[in-house]
């Protein structure tokens, strides 16, 4: 487990740097065409990046919970749910029990957020809560607590807030440009050659494609983390069937989208929150197919270790594994 945490931390850092670079590039072109000085644009992007990063680090979880319209509950509101979260925190050895949130939405979904195991939260939709048995609820909460334990939550909140920044900046810039912005630039340079046109086209393309790039970057790493959280769930509950049957229930009604979900928060959920119509290509989806996840969990058999999950995963993927080798050794 520990090695896995380390490699996840490194990946988070790489992702933050890449997203930051993308944001700076967007800022550069915004500066060039909308303010008339690329330095100004870079400065704006750098400030946005720093502010968003700090906000994500200190307030990311409350922003995401707020955006998702989640409300915090106490033990008296739902003793069984609360107990299950506490049980799974014990199984994972979390230093502090996560806060528990309910999202008043009939869709079937759940997510975890926070900064580190000392400051974290789990949220579940009212629809899913009502539909699960205690064992299934345990599997789902163990999956979410797996995200917290594997340090996925900080990565997810920082990445999704930065993705949000890129999306907002480029959306704003392209709108201004198409609505007749950039005039100032044309006046300044007076005419302008073919070279400038090319740069401008590249800039426009970048502004349009940046959100897509950022999202692909985000998604590529988030799918693997879903498998790892499934493996952690089996390890904590020692009962993979709980999560498997919960996932199956979610699959039957995955056509119902979560109302408050958006592109930036989608990878946080346990299954794709947009419903069936969004499942386009494997590389562009936030989550691995549910049927595949269920199949892996079911083929683990009696053994519930990370090694057993790795074995089951390999059978489905021509010998390619998903759990880091060093994590297998220590478990």
């Amino acid at each position: 487990m520990w090695e896995q945490i380390k490699s996840n931390r490194l990946r988070s850092a790489v992702l933050v740097v890449f997203m930051g670079a993308l944001l700076l590039a967007v800022g550069y072109f915004i500066g060039l065409y909308l303010i008339g000085s690329w330095q100004g644009g870079l400065a704006i992007a750098a400030v946005v990046w720093a502010v968003m990063g700090l906000v994500a680090f200190f307030q990311g979880d409350s922003i995401l919970l707020g955006v998702s319209k989640a409300r915090k509950i106490g033990k008296q509101d739902d003793p069984a749910l609360y107990n299950v979260v506490e049980e799974m925190s014990l199984a994972a050895g979390l230093p502090k029990i996560p806060d528990v949130y309910i999202i008043d939405d009939p869709a079937l979904n759940a997510f975890a957020t926070g900064r580190d195991p000392k400051k974290s939260a789990v949220a579940i939709t009212a629809g899913l809560r009502a539909k699960l048995t205690r064992d299934e609820l345990q599997g789902v909460m163990a999956h979410e607590i797996g995200h917290i334990k594997n340090r996925d939550v900080m990565y997810m909140s920082i990445a999704s807030v930065m993705l949000g920044a890129i999306v907002i900046l480029s959306w704003y810039a392209t709108r201004v440009m198409f609505l007749g912005g950039g005039n100032r630039n044309r006046n300044n340079s007076g005419g302008g050659g073919a070279g400038e046109m090319i740069i401008m086209v590249i800039g426009l393309l970048l502004l349009i494609l940046a959100p897509l790039f950022a999202q692909l970057l985000y998604l590529a790493t988030s799918r693997k983390r879903e498998y790892l959280a499934d493996a952690s769930s089996a390890l904590y509950t020692r009962y993979p069937e709980g999560l498997a049957s919960a996932l199956e229930k979610m699959a039957t009604s995955s056509g119902t989208p979560v109302k408050a979900a958006n592109k930036a928060t989608a990878p946080m959920y346990i299954i794709n929150p947009f419903g069936k119509k969004q499942a386009v290509n494997a590389w562009a989806s936030t989550h691995p197919p549910i049927t595949e996840r269920v199949r892996i969990l079911r083929s683990m058999g009696k053994n519930d270790s990370l090694a057993a999950y790795e074995q089951a995963y390999k059978q489905l993927h021509n010998g390619h594994g998903v759990v880091p080798k060093s994590a297998l050794k220590t478990s």
Partner: protein, 187 residues
């Protein structure tokens, strides 16, 4: 001169490696201690729950005196073993689990009890407590395994031997009944 530097370098390197492994061992040992404390918390939770549970069941099933006595005795025995090591303790707690299992089986025969709101919430608490005990035991045993591996594998075993790190004791499940935790739900 060069020989001296090389010797010095080797010594410094050894010291650094020693410190690293030593700190790793201390970290793992602390985790074992923490996990043990957590089991303690959960077992206490169960002691606190029992009088309430017994009272509630008594209200509907006065005649099952023998069962109540068994539970009360087992609870006292378990509390008496609270300061002992994992082996002795797990014996006493196993006895308590057995007695609780019987109490729940008795309650099953009283339909009014099963409909009682107070009993239902106690039932959820008992389910959760049993789960907490087994999950914290699971985490404790995993921690002990990791710590013991470190104290027995080369090269950390050398340092563990010098610094006196003793292997941890597992919290084993003793009775066969306890391997199948108390089933508290009625279906």
């Amino acid at each position: 001169m060069i020989g001296l530097f090389i010797a010095l370098g080797v010594v410094v390197l050894l010291v650094v490696v020693f410190i690293g492994i030593y700190n790793g061992l201390v970290g793992l040992r602390n985790q074992v201690k923490n996990a043990w404390a957590q089991i303690d918390v959960q077992l206490k939770r169960r002691y606190d729950l029992i009088p309430n549970l017994v009272e509630t069941v008594k209200g509907f099933a006065k005649h099952e005196r023998e069962v109540f006595e068994k539970v009360t005795q087992a609870r006292a025995a378990a509390q008496g073993a609270a300061g002992a090591g994992p082996a002795e303790r797990s014996q006493a707690e196993g006895g308590l689990s057995q007695a609780l299992g019987r109490l729940i089986a008795v309650a099953e025969a009283y339909p009014q009890l099963k409909a009682n709101q107070n009993f239902l919430s106690l039932q959820e608490e008992l389910t959760s407590t049993e789960n907490r005990i087994s999950f914290s035991r699971q985490f404790y045993n995993d921690s002990v395994l990791r710590y013991n591996n470190k104290t027995q594998m080369f090269p950390s075993n050398v340092i563990a031997g010098i610094a006196g790190f003793k292997p941890g004791e597992f919290f084993e499940v003793t009775s066969p009944e306890e391997k199948n935790p108390v089933k508290v739900s009625f279906n």
